[in-house]
Amino acid sequence: MSKPSDLVQGTLDLLVLKILALEPLHGWALSQRLKQVSGDVLQVSDGSLYPALHKLEQQGWIQAEWKPTENNRRAKFYSLTRLGRRYLEREAANWERISAAISGVLRLTEV
């Protein structure tokens, strides 16, 4: 079986943004949600989420905040910024355009 392709790696940002657009989450919850929604198609190790999250934060697309959670603990919650929301919309549209084009091409070759 081939490794998760570069294409998938590159779209990790997009997925993270999309999930965070629904509600602010901390890292672990995000990783769980990612597994839930993508099934096992995306083999993302839990850890690789963090460089991605920090990069998005540095770019100003998401922001982080420490909030208390159950049992007297606290966790770093990530949420989308307005900038990130706009970026997400743009990138999602791009993605749809490209994937539509690619699947169109693929269908062509099948005929």
Binding site: W28, D46, G47, H54, A75, K76, L83
Partner: protein, 890 residues
Amino acid sequence: MRLEHWVYTIPLRLRALFHRNRLNAELDEELRDHLERQIEFNRAGGMSPEKARLVALRQLGNPALLRDQTRATWNWNGLEQFTHDLRIGIRTLSRTPGFTLVAILVMALGIGANVALFTVVRSVLLKPLPYSDPEGLELIYEADPGHPHVHPWLPVDAGSFWEWQRSTQSLAQMALVSPFQGYNVSGEGGKLPEVVEAAWCTHNFFSLLGVQPTLGRSFTPDDDRADAAATAMITANFWKRRYASDPTIAGKTIWLDAKPYTIIGVLPSTFVYSGAFGGAADQIWTPVRHEAPASLLHTYGDHEFLAVARLAPGVSLATLASRIDALQKQIKSAHPEPAVHPGAIGRTMLDDAVQDYKTPLYALLGATGCVLLIACMNVAGLLVARAASRSKEFAIRAALGGGRMRLIRERLIESLLLSASGGALGLLLAWAALGWLVHARHDMNRVEAIHFDGMAAAFTLAVVFLCTLFSGLISAHGSLRGNILGGLQEGSRSHSGGRSRSLLRRLLLAAEVGLTVVLLVGAGLLLKSFKHLRSSDLGVPVDNVLTLHFELPGARYKQDDQKFAFFDQLIARVRALPGVSSAGLVSAAPGEGWSGDDLMSIVEHPPLAKGQGLDFMLRGADPGYFSAIGLPILKGRTFTEDERGKRANVVLISRGAAQQYFPGEDPMGKHLKMIDEGGVWTIIGVVGDVRWHVAQPPYPTLYWPIYGNGYGFGTVVVRSAHDVESMAVPVQKIVAQLDPDLPVSNVMTLREAIGKSTIDSEFDSILVLAFAIIALVLAAAGIYGVLAYLVTQRLVEFGIRLALGAQRSTLLGHLLLDGLKPALAGLLIGLPASAAVVRLIRSILYETEPLDLVVYGAVTGLLLFVALAACFVPAWYASRLDPMRTLRTE
């Protein structure tokens, strides 16, 4: 978008820079939190604790690697890139040390001059006075709006002041001060006798300013009475100098004018009184009601004082001034004598101290600003030229994907390096310049407030930043505009190098030349004004004349006979000195100042209306004065030896007085009557006009015998064939023999005295001239640079043209014209700009019109000459080319 981006990311960047440890800790905590949650999750799924932990760790991946990868995303990337660019910049600049050195020096000059001037302007003009709550302090003057030719700010008489003080108690506290007094301090305990400048003040003066003595106490109402014991306060300087900071000084005795005074307090070293009428050098302060004669304390006609007011909360200066103005009008109607002034005006104490320096200092600041702008343009021009020679490199880098921003950043960093080094050097220059200025201009009010402080440093940083942006962006704009590929194509065979680029440099040059013209015109006008001032005719020959001033203390010289005896012996011994060709005595020598005036009427004329009078400036003189100073007696005779004491009722008047007060008649034998005090004097002669101040026109003057008429002071005037300075010591020795306790002051030649009163003008004109010359050199270098660059760019073109038979002289003319164009454009901008700008310095020009055609003509000529000279070298080089060699090198 951009802005919002920064809003989100700047705090993160700052944290990444300054709180790296906390960020690391937070990352650890985040990962730990993840792990714990995963372990819990795994255990909830039924795993053993051990297994749950192992699985969670496996799922997470290598934590060390994770941390590294994450940290890489928040690396302080900008800084890293910046240091990288900085290294490249330093390397590029050090490859051309000549260029770098010149650029840094140019920047240092511009920045240094600006920092120095900024510091002076801020310290002198803007910094609050060293009193508590100085904003509420005002000076009230009298005014005579009906006589606009009179100085607008007139000192105050005590009579009016007491009335002001009484009726404005709800608006302000007021204090009276007379800062132009002086004492002979007698020698005691082996110290030398000396003359010190001093001030009288009311007892509330220091408490009004909020000044507390560092030793002893301040004046109380009990000190400030005519029958009180004599008391004095001394300044910290005087205390240090004369008493070696004696901590037990309070209560000791000082002998002033041969009378004992008790020193009750020492003023703090920060205290200085600097007003428009001087006072910064006052070292002894005494209570006015004890010191001033009773008549002076009650008159409305003798203006020996200044009024200081501290406004009550909520009261404005305008309110107070208009109240006092109304009051003064009432006083005038109650006392219609001519010497009583009909109005009053006020200004803040700070304005009072520095008003006279505002125009010159702002003019100088403007000049340094121009120099800096020119320096920036020059550096920008140099950078553009360098960029032009590297255009192929830039084109290749751009073609290989080098970001445009990156290229711009490199230009900016180059100019930052130049500006910052220039700034550092400039800071040193400014520091040295300020040291020199404080030394050279200690006559200036508030010069003691000049300090190099944090604001100066902040200003330097701001200037460096602006210079960086200015020259960096211009050069970036010049080198990166338009099609980058064009650089490659154009560069492949440089037949006629970049037109657009040289256009930018020409525009810069034209602006440079324009600014230079403004500076040159300003400098020319100030120099001309200074020259007029220096050559203005005092009315007497000024070479080889020495003056020495002395004041006989009234306590020791009570009788007229004692004074006459002193005068007689002094003048006889001075005349007998070998080398002295003539000597005389006068109350105030030409150029020595106003020194008193009074109103007279002419007995033979119809009586004047009440409140009218003819104003004469008063001078006491001895019979030999006129010949000693070289003042021609136009009519009549000088005094005789026995016209003294009760027989001293004869006067000579100046030609101006004769023309003004005796139009079309002979003043000889007429009689003058003093309006206030009576007494009649017979006119026995007419003498030439002299100036009482170099920059002021002669005033109608009256000379009467110094033997009598109340004189207890005088200026010895000594004329010698040569080396009159060498007479100073022998004359002082004579004074010391006559009275060992009597100090001599203002020992200087007439020339020195003129120099002293023209130092302002000299200072301003020489500084502006220096700046103008710097600007001219920079502009010339700029013109030379542009043309030299153009010539090297177009060598092949010239080679071809010469090979095809072009005349060398045509080529030379063509190139000269090319180089002169920016200079001509600059002149076209600069001349009208100068005409507009120099109006601002009209007030410091003496007998010089702002539109002086000679100056404008000279500036135009000089500029064209310099521009031509700067163009000539490269043009000549181009016209001497060997076409074959040039074509081969390509």
